[in-house]
Amino acid sequence: MRKRPGFVLLLSFVAALGCGGANDSKPLGTGGAPKGASPQAKEDAPVAPAKLATPPSGAIVLKPENSKIEFVGTKPDGKHLGGFNNFLGSVALHGKDFAGADLSVEIETDSLYADVPKLTGHLKTPDFFDVKTYPKASFKSTAVKAGGEGGATHTITGDLTLHDVTKALSFPAKVDLTDDALALNAEFKFNRSDYGITYNKNPVDEAVTVKVTVKASRK
């Protein structure tokens, strides 16, 4: 009788699938999605948490409790809202004015959420953010100047790193800096294909809008 080791060998592959590897890390417990957001996919397919850089002492810390980083993706028949539940950043002031400040933020890409649960998962795949390969995105300012378009108080220039691609960009921001708090509202767009995110250019628009909101205490 002819032996059939193939089926035995296939069992080992099935066993490997059963053992996991893709889904066996612990879910994250940081951050909190805004109401209406859908972070379920984060629990469905957790990724090892990215280590975010610790902010320098004395700087204003930007974190999900006092800030929001959201994005809007558009397509011909509508748009989708999303954001990130886990990020850590800092604003280091040099003097009393916001101009000249050093601003940086690191985002854990796996903490993203979208307004549709299934979209949350899709955005995490290599079609878009590829969170397993690129667990972090970051922004680091290179210049913050007073004045800006559309009633902005300042213009922030810096490097956005996404998919290991770093590109310089500039955007206006409305900043209210008091002795007690920092409030910042900014909105800018970037072209996803500049960062190698090229999935389906026809139904999903190239430009992605990012909204940053900060209401941080200085104490």
Binding site: F13, A16, L17, G18, A45, T125, P126, K132, N200, N202
Partner: protein
């Protein structure tokens, strides 16, 4: 619902063109070298690369595991050619298969941090899956000509694409669609020329691509798709082997084909059902 323009683009670039290129190359292989089964491997590679070039699902220079998928049929075609040149050397043939399976696994299993500890098992498991599919399907394809085998493999590839799409990975699902389309081209030629088993050169590429799709679909599953769906997609093509069972071989052709169809469609259908209802 995606725009019509997008759907037409995907259907033409990812469906019609790969099918037509595969059919054309296979037909040329049939005409030029009717005794060279390796032409099937080259035809599959041509169709898959055509779809890859037009859809642009991955960069030409791979920088991650699933980017290697378009090149797998080329590796398989080279292996088929090697087997065609030295068909009687059993050890050489198996050595070649093992080498190809090992290389494919090395390329296909992601190098993700979460796999640091378990990657050796995944490499072994993936190589085994390639070898099993290859070893089971090729003897069948050598004995059974006609469009049934490519048609059923097409259904499996389509089911795989649906499962992967349910996991959220659209580009990989499109690649599954390209494989299905290429197999559609094979089915047309195999239906036209039933005299010889042209699929025997195609199945090594199918074994590599299907394993690569399933492994990467599983690792980049950000939906609720259960592991069983991925396993069933790999197991489904093995259903063709029921046609080789001694008591089934005595059946009439229609009954045998019907049983093979059920044995393939049921696991593939279950895979899709599990993925869509989870």
């Amino acid at each position: 619902m995606p725009p019509l323009e997008f759907l037409v683009e995907v259907l033409i670039y990812g469906g019609l063109v790969p099918a037509a290129v595969t059919a054309l190359l296979l037909a040329l292989a049939v005409k030029a070298r009717p005794n060279l089964e390796a032409g099937g491997g080259a035809a599959l590679a041509g169709g898959v690369l055509a779809g890859h070039a037009l859809l642009g699902v991955a960069p030409w220079a791979p920088n991650t595991s699933w980017h290697w998928l378009p090149y797998l049929p080329l590796i398989a075609a080279a292996a088929s050619l090697g087997e065609a040149v030295a068909p009687s050397h059993r050890f050489l043939s198996w050595g070649l298969r093992i080498a190809v399976a090992a290389l494919a696994s090395w390329l296909l299993v992601p190098t993700l941090p979460e796999l640091q500890e378990t990657r050796p098992y995944w490499l072994a498991g993936s190589a085994v899956a390639v070898l099993v599919l290859w070893a089971v399907l090729q003897p069948l394809a050598r004995k059974q000509s006609g469009p049934l085998i490519p048609s059923l493999l097409l259904l499996v590839a389509m089911a795989g694409a649906v499962v992967i799409e349910q996991g959220g990975f659209g580009k990989l699902a499109q690649f599954g669609g390209v494989l299905a389309a290429a197999l559609g081209g094979c089915a047309v030629v195999c239906g036209w020329r039933r005299d010889r088993p042209w699929m025997s050169g195609v199945v090594p590429g199918v074994a590599l691509l299907l394993t690569g799709l399933v492994v990467n679909g599983y690792f980049y599953n950000f939906g609720d798709v259960p592991p069983s769906s991925y396993v069933l997609i790999l197991v489904a093509p093995l259903g063709l082997a029921v046609g080789a069972l001694p008591f089934v071989r005595r059946w009439g052709k229609v009954a045998r084909s019907l049983l093979q169809t059920v044995a393939v469609v049921v696991p593939a259908g279950l895979a899709v059902a599990f993925a869509m209802t989870s």
